[in-house]
Amino acid sequence: MSLAGTSQPSGSVPGQAGGFHRVAFTGKASEYFGIWIVNVLLTIITLGIYSAWAKVRRNRYFFGNTVLLGRAFEYHARGLQILIGRLIVLGGLIVLNVIAALVPILVLLPTIVILVALPWLVAKGLRFSARVTSYRNVRFDFVGTAGGAFKAFILGGLLAVITLGILSPLASRWVGRYIGSNLRYGGKAFDTDPRLGPLYKSWLLSLLIALVGLAIIAFLVVANLPTILAAIETPGAVTPEQQVPLITSLVAGYVVLFVTFAVAGLFYRAGVRNITWSATTFDGQHRLMSDLSRRRYTWIAVTNVIVTLITFGLMRPWAAVRMARYTWEHTGVTFAGDVGELFARIEAQGSAIGAEFMDLEGFDFGF
């Protein structure tokens, strides 16, 4: 392989000048197709039990093909570990839902317990994801608390929903700070503080897209207004013939709503990724960068879903590799100083090694 380690004097990493380096993605759709379909088949045959091992193979493939400076990231979780974590979470959910089904007064119990446990599970899940990820033989770590997760995900999400999305950029900032500033690599900290100004600028475009969708729906309502008014005034006056355009409009409106909000969300997600990654530093001096084109990112995501659906899922591996390649190739790091020297100094810090066995996978959060 061209990426194999080159001959260098022993005792040091290949000396590489600092400066800007892009991440590369070396995964291939044809190669991932086999991994993917075997994952699906074995998951079906084992009635779902294999899905934990399938996740390990999938993540090992994607992490192992994400390459920075000629070296790949690695995913270290074990299938059994993930299976146990899932069984615990699933068992808890079943018990809660059975209680709620038997005692309808407690119908909100699962929601309340999940809301209370969620920040804790999110923090645990992020720590698990970080600790099973390594680069150059050193693991990442995550030191965020449940309180921080509560603020970033629950409080932020709630504010965003209550204000109909107006405070979404604030929530995005909290999430970016929570993840980006609690991440550690070899005992050294990442730090990020995405600014509200750029986040709102990015948000404005998504707002416009959502407004276009709402305008189309308003148009559909106005077009059907005579029929709707007639139906309200004298129930039963609407004949089955009149219902056809009404139902067609209803379905069209639903599809428009689904599509425009998905597109607005994708534009926003790409914008937030650019802003958050580009505001992130490692060890106070090395700068991360993301330069996705929001239009291209949205195009890839939307066409991925369409192609996957019309091929009954068979093109999903192609879609997944296509998206990973696009996002990773638009990600980079600007190293200050000599890269070889930097990596010669980084050592794993005690707490992160092996400690993932104490963690639950909890919820799935990738980096």
Partner: protein, 358 residues
């Protein structure tokens, strides 16, 4: 020494827990694995072959060889590692990787995945639902019903204001059809309630508790037989265990989508959830139609007008102006369509039972 060495692959060696790396070669020294610096010199790490852990092959991502001292040798040369494993009787790249390769045999895997996936959806989930319904102890629907009744009584319902005679008349008719159900008369309890916000309605809880609202009885006027027809429909829901079945089917579908979630991507997952909702609605419409047919059967057996419930739908059309057609977005079939189906079924049933009497 050098003559016993066989090179396996070139790569990088890391001390335990360090990102510092040394360009190195992995060599087989008569049964022991060792990482030797590319530049020559003493081995960086060495271990008996069975004590060094070699990571499983996934695509062509780098392989890790972890020595017992925690140091790691990493290489992109998957083929070199596989050759070494195969030569030492350790199975090469392994069965899973063999299956995964993009060869003609992968077509078999694809077909098997589609056939088995389809079979799980078509037969596996319904079978699991049946098994779950069978093994659910009767105490579960009882507790569900008890809780629902208490919650509704506390929030929406108030005691019935129907005259005693009217209630007795309905209860007598109800007893006649309930006795013909496999659960028997004791399997059901009929409750009268003022429906409040719920309005004219009748419903069954999974343990056989039936509720009919004052508003429905008033809507029916003098036609008690029609109310009994509606109650027969609710008995149908209880007999066919529709509530439990719907609950388990929803859980089964959610489980199926969750299992493949990681492999289909969040966009496709959203579409599947929406599609699952439409499928659930079609089951709900099928359940209503089945309960309608059960009503016709029970009413015919008890000597009532088998199509009594059809009069209820006529009433709905006239008084509430409900002429909606069936669409893929509704929980119940369209009212005119239901009425027609009931009348047809009643006709078929009487046609078939006629020869029996001769």
């Amino acid at each position: 020494m050098a003559s016993e060495e066989r090179a396996i692959a070139g790569g990088d060696w890391h001390p335990a827990g360090s990102s510092r790396s040394v360009a190195a070669r992995l060599v087989d020294r008569s049964g022991r694995l060792a990482a030797v610096p590319e530049a020559g010199g003493t081995p960086l790490a060495e271990a008996p072959a069975d004590r060094a852990e070699i990571s499983a092959r996934v695509g062509s991502i780098p392989r890790r060889i972890t020595f017992s001292d925690g140091s790691v040798f990493e290489t992109w040369d998957n083929d070199g590692i596989d050759r070494y494993l195969a030569a030492n009787g350790r199975g090469g790249a392994g069965l899973v990787h063999w299956l995964e390769q993009f060869r003609l045999r992968l077509v078999v895997v694809v077909l098997a995945a589609f056939v088995l996936g389809g079979a799980i959806y078509r037969f596996g989930v319904p079978l699991l639902v049946e098994v779950a319904v069978r093994v659910t102890p009767p105490v579960v629907p009882e507790l569900m019903a008890k809780g629902t009744m208490e919650a509704l009584d506390a929030t929406t319902f108030s005691p019935t204001r129907l005259p005693e005679a009217k209630r007795r008349e309905i209860a007598d008719g109800f007893a006649r059809i309930a006795a013909l159900s496999p659960r028997g008369e004791a399997g059901y309890t009929l409750n009268f309630r003022d429906g409040g916000a719920i309005g004219p309605n009748a419903f069954a809880l999974p343990d056989g508790t039936l509720v009919v609202t004052d508003q429905l009885v008033t809507l029916a006027g003098d036609d008690t037989e029609m109310i009994v027809g509606v109650l027969a429909h609710e008995i149908g829901h209880v007999e066919l265990e529709h509530s439990l079945r719907q609950l388990y089917r929803a859980a089964g579908m959610a489980g199926l989508i969750m299992l493949i979630a990681g492999d289909v991507g969040s966009g496709v997952e959203d579409v599947l959830v929406q599609g699952g909702g439409l499928v659930a609605l079609s089951y709900s419409r099928a359940a209503e139609a089945a309960a309608d047919r059960r009503s016709v059967e029970l009413m015919a057996k008890a000597g009532f007008d088998p199509a009594a419930i059809a009069r209820f739908f006529t009433l709905l059309e006239e008084k509430l102006g409900d002429r909606s057609g069936t669409s893929m977005l509704s929980t119940h079939p369209g009212t005119p369509e239901r009425r027609k189906e009931i009348l047809d079924y009643a006709r078929i049933l009487s046609g078939q039972s006629a020869p029996d009497r001769q």
